[in-house]
Subunit: 262 residues, 2 copies
């Protein structure tokens, strides 16, 4: 079972070339989003994260020249299942490692991921549809804008999990206790197809990243801020270079989920 693997074992498989969403992998170990930018844009990204802490909770920063650190006894350039490379506002590659793209002046940000609280949701009796399905979580660009920072601006990106109406309060209270990995939802519910939700999402079946999940009667879509938000910002802001994880294919760190529980 991939849930029973340790982070080093999982990273070894990804380094060997396995490409897969990591939701449900390494139960109890914290997963993280990656965004690496040239040093001259690092201030903008860190300030963007500080001003938008719900989508961009910074877990650690690897300074220029570092490819490992306190959260990662490994190599950030190869230990994720998949990557994206953005140049000047275009997605130019989706490789399984990024050694050929890496530069010594890149600063890598590790950003909290909502997969961290999915184990706590299950423990509290809240089902997690994409885990049950074995697919990636659905993610959506919204019409809600992040606070701008320097040269970086962009929309809030959210992940969505359908929750039975009677368990929405449980889902909110459980995730509130994980503020470092997106915390409480940013929106609950759905205004219907006449114009979509308050977040400007018009079709739940067509996520911008990840896979759609079926919803059944009596379920409510619950939206959490998502660590893909900085990817949307580097795209919109046309940064000359950014290297990120493939959405849903996270870095599995050496930190425990409990480290981020309040």
């Amino acid at each position: 079972m991939t849930a029973d693997l340790g982070p080093a074992q999982a990273r070894e498989r990804f380094r060997a070339g396995l490409s897969t969403p990591t939701s449900g992998w390494c139960a109890g170990w914290t997963q993280a989003n990656l965004i690496a930018v040239p040093r001259e844009y690092a201030w903008d990204v860190l300030l963007f994260a500080q001003r938008n802490p719900k989508p961009c909770p910074v877990l650690d920063v690897l300074e220029p020249g570092e490819v490992g650190g306190a959260l990662l006894d490994g190599d950030i350039r190869a230990d994720l299942p998949g990557y994206r490379v953005y140049r000047g506002g275009e997605l130019v590659d989706q490789p399984s490692d990024v050694e050929k793209y890496w530069r010594d002046d890149l600063v890598a940000f590790l950003i909290g991921c909502s997969f961290t609280f999915e184990n706590a949701l299950l423990t509290a009796g809240v089902p997690v549809r994409h885990l049950a399905q074995g697919t990636n979580v659905p993610m959506y660009r919204t019409t809600r804008r992040c606070r701008t920072a320097g040269r970086l601006s962009g929309p809030l990106v959210v992940s969505m999990r359908p929750v039975p109406a009677g368990l929405v309060d449980t889902a909110v209270s459980v995730t509130t206790r994980y503020p470092a990995v997106h915390g409480a939802p940013v929106h609950v519910g759905w205004g219907g197809r006449d114009g979509g939700s308050e977040l400007g999402i018009t079709d739940l079946d067509a996520p911008d990243y990840g896979d759609p999940v079926p919803m059944t009667d009596g379920e409510v879509p619950v939206f959490w801020a998502c660590g893909v938000t900085p990817q949307a910002a580097v795209l919109e802001s046309r940064l000359p270079l950014a290297i990120t994880h493939e959405p849903g294919q996270m870095l599995i760190t050496d930190a425990r989920d409990g480290d981020y529980l309040i």
Copy 2:
């Protein structure tokens, strides 16, 4: 009563020249530490804050050229009761405004302050000695080191409040809910005079900043991380220029304490 003033009224008095500790002022309004550094050091400071979130919770950042912002409908250069100016690791001035020192390339960080949760402590029945005395809170440089960031390193600075032994649990649980303004204590209790506390403090009656407070039998010293920590770091790291608040003489912001309650 200064507790009943609004933030704009308080800032007007300070702009007019009043110099005073702000503990107990403007009940319900959030107070903040100030540290402004040249843009070329801003990355180091922001990364230092990110790596040391207990002492350095960033509430907002004013970019070069900004002297007001979302938390402050005013002028950061004059609206505090007192300032400190550091040059190359020396304290060179303690003026009541800093317009003559200000430069267009300065980046100002507003950092959370434990005064924010003192009202909540009082409401929960925990006495706050320096408030009762009408003095400044005692603050101490410790032997505990912060995580280094770029060119910035330094010791953890703490504030201390004596708490009746039977109320220590209350003080911890109340302040835990304010993580953006230092949150739970970093240390409770005192190992005695043979070597001082675990924090390396040898004499509670000789704080490094602020005023000493009397302790009575049955009280326990409780230590919280303090937003003076970046001042100790710019001093030790000999930054060419840093402008800060005078410890205990805070910026009173337009944000509500409740905004930082979890």
